[in-house]
Symmetry: C2
Subunit: 323 residues, 2 copies
């Protein structure tokens, strides 16, 4: 970052306006400094996006900026954490478009404000490869209260927030494999809605929680393995949007991509029976729909996804793997 270099200019023009936290020092120092709240733990998460892997190169850059932060905010919410701030590492091809960067930073900055999660520092590199974005996000919980994957017990009810499957169907729409007259499915694929307001209700009532990023089947399997339990789910109770219902109406085979597709960024959690009423009330108070989709049971994973006849579905693949 030589004075007057193109790199300096990029940082000054596009990133410095996002340096609103005093501990970011206007990005003019080597590192950021923040004073964490007393008697709290830090919750730490990193997740990234790569062009051609996690988004299409012609997806609107503003949405890419939002998604880069939101996929991390979704994890913080699932762990019961309040956002504290984030670091951004971005690698750009030498011939990158400044229009793209301006739009990316606008979306990112608006979300940093909206979610009270300020940019604290970053790293800007050139790459011979595709645009690569890595966010490291930090949140806080009162000491010892991070909501784990491992606390589910037999008898707990399994809840999910919002609707499942929109993003997976949106990806199919984006590829031209499916119609979506409303645009709802593609918008859910491009810009997830992290359930940040559910963090406190989860910390108060959930025995276990995680966000659904790799697909409901895969992620419930992980939660069950971490908790040494299994689960019985009723597929018909898995909440779907109107747009997903419309797509499913024309092709009932789409139920499997809905359950395994991933990128839902909804909350999957388990609630002990005596906390269900309180959890549902707290979720309603913050305006997040939650749906009871099944039960934690004893035994070994994988959990069973039961059709209306009570028969378990079989899945060739449970969720997304990069390799």
């Amino acid at each position: 970052m030589a004075q007057g270099s193109a790199e300096d200019r990029l940082i000054a023009r596009y990133f410095k306006p996002l340096a609103k936290h005093p501990g970011a020092f206007d990005f003019s120092d080597d590192a950021a400094a923040i004073t964490p709240p007393a008697r709290h733990d830090l919750v730490l998460k990193t997740d990234g996006l790569i062009a051609g892997v996690h988004f299409f190169t012609d997806d609107p850059a503003e949405g890419v900026g939002r998604k880069a932060l939101r996929v991390n905010l979704s994890d913080l919410a699932a762990k019961g954490a309040a956002p504290l701030g984030f670091l951004l590492a971005i690698a750009l091809p030498k011939d990158f478009s400044e229009h793209w960067l301006a739009d990316f930073v606008r979306g990112l900055g608006e979300d940093a404000d909206a979610y009270a999660c300020p940019l604290l520092g970053g790293d800007t590199d050139s790459t011979p490869g595709p645009i690569s974005i890595s966010v490291a996000a930090f949140g806080t919980v009162p000491t010892g209260t991070m909501v784990r994957r491992s606390g589910a017990r037999p008898g707990d009810h399994v809840f999910v927030s919002g609707a499942i499957g929109d993003a997976a169907l949106g990806l199919r729409v984006r590829r031209g494999e499916l119609a979506d007259t409303t645009g709802h499915l593609v918008s859910r694929y491009r810009v997830p809605q992290p359930r940040t307001t559910l963090a406190e209700p989860l910390r108060a009532h959930a025995s276990a929680a995680m966000d659904v990023s790799d697909g409901l089947v895969s992620d419930l399997g992980k939660l069950c393995r971490a908790s040494n339990v299994s689960a019985d789910l009723e597929v018909a109770r898995v909440p779907r949007s109107e747009a997903a219902e419309a797509a499913l109406g024309s092709d009932c085979e789409l139920i499997k991509p809905i359950l395994t597709g991933g990128e839902d960024y909804e909350i999957l959690c388990t609630i002990p029976p005596n906390r269900i009423a309180s959890f549902e009330s707290a979720a309603a108070n913050v305006g997040v729909p939650v749906t009871d989709i099944g039960r934690i049971v004893g035994g070994d994973p994988p959990p069973r996804f039961l059709n209306p006849e009570g028969q378990p579905l079989t899945f060739l693949r449970g969720g997304y793997s990069h390799f």
Copy 2:
């Protein structure tokens, strides 16, 4: 990360052995949780390496693993911070070599142990581009004591640790442009030596500090701009290794790449006159050589690098820029 997927297997095989901090939860949860020490600030830094940009694709992977962490540890040290832990985001081509990954993780894990900076979590992706590694590192300082770039005052002496220019010359050796019979220069390019033990002496005595990553000329310029001062340096006093002296002996034009080349990962700091003896003593106690190379003066940057005749050198470029 589906159960039994190749991605799961990679994480279990290569990264889980590095999950030694209890708050990493064996990488079996969505996020890490750590309890920061009371009455301390967190110091946050992210810096990355991209194959073909920051290292050669045939550089030993073990050294790449070390360098990925060390470039961040160098920043933490310059800010006076003790390491707390780090997050790793790594993107690998689909046809990556498992030998490469095993070596990378070995170097990274050994350094995480050696520098007491545990891996807390990560993100593993595939990429159509080159191997890309992003580290977000966290350190701690007593509240309000992070050493800034902005505290230098006229009359302060300018110090650097170790020797300057080895890595820049090592890069030339690596490219076949220069001979290096001892291997010292290339090893300094490949595996920097972060001055972590200098963190406390800096916090105790330095008015300003940063690490030298983009070249001494560029980085001193940044420190001066942040402090609203300038500096007069004597080029002959800039410490050089025997290997750099040998190279310089054959080509006195190499003095400019030594001063501008970057990747030294030494500490550049300013010390008020009444703290010099204490600083030198504290540095000697932790075994880090430090050299007084000039003075902070009033006026506007850029600082002047004076030759033995007292004439300032001119530089076409001050340091590394990615764009």
